[in-house]
Symmetry: C2
Subunit: 144 residues, 2 copies
Amino acid sequence: MVEDLHPAIAARLDGDGQRYTSGRRRLVEALVGAGRPLTAAEVLTEGALAQSSAYRNLAVLEAAGVVHRVAGSDEFARFELAEDLTDHHHHHLICTTCGAVTDFTVPDGLERAVDALALAVTATSGFHADHHRIDLYGRCAACA
Amino acid sequence: MVEDLHPAIAARLDGDGQRYTSGRRRLVEALVGAGRPLTAAEVLTEGALAQSSAYRNLAVLEAAGVVHRVAGSDEFARFELAEDLTDHHHHHLICTTCGAVTDFTVPDGLERAVDALALAVTATSGFHADHHRIDLYGRCAACA
DNA sequence: ATTTATGCAAATCGTTTGCAAACCT
DNA sequence: AGGTTTGCAAACGATTTGCATAAAT
């Protein structure tokens, strides 16, 4: 699926009336190479684009469903590729000291239990759930 | 336990070398009355204190373990009373359209499964987990 | 040729900070 | 009095926007 990644992204952008420019591609490749959510500052450094272009393109990619915004414990927005592009459903370990965010996966049974809970909440309340988050907070190896 | 809330808060502040001033108490009462996480703007309006005092006191209360900071889907920081003061362990429903955050609880079995997962992660990785988060994202009743 | 993307610099806005006056003990 | 807290106004920093140039179709 990784070999089909860029065509899939191009298709998604096209469906949103947007082009897959070289700057956007560099930005995506920075995210692919990282394997964890990156801050805007990391993305613009790795992708070698201007600050305004990085933010504008992250917004375009987010609107097209290519990139997903992740909130951590610090003041920096972080971005990762949408899970349906990477086929890698995961959650996050968030360091409350330095703000670092890393990926991890949880057992299938737990995922199913949370999905069932989301359905129950949607059925019994006015809130329509469509996505969940199971994160662990603590100290990363570097901050322990 | 609600009748012991303010003495407990005063003790926690005192342990941190801080006083429980009237402004801090108004701020706490705004959070008690809300029953959901409040933004800094909501806190300073309800507590009728200056913006700088609201932010400074929220920081003091957070450092003393009285208040806990909650990240939502928008750009506003939100604050709630620490769970060990309210004895109300809960999670959040987060509206991806308007950013509203409301409380909800999950079944005991699911809580225990996530606690067990946190222990397993701590035992097998360099990450030391001490807190978890199970949130549902979607549309609130007003935005549906 | 016309539309869209880029980069620079300036603006925006939530949050933080300096400082003098008010408060507590 | 001595140290702390408050409020105002100014500063800060991540993100956004205006505008002129460059690229894509």
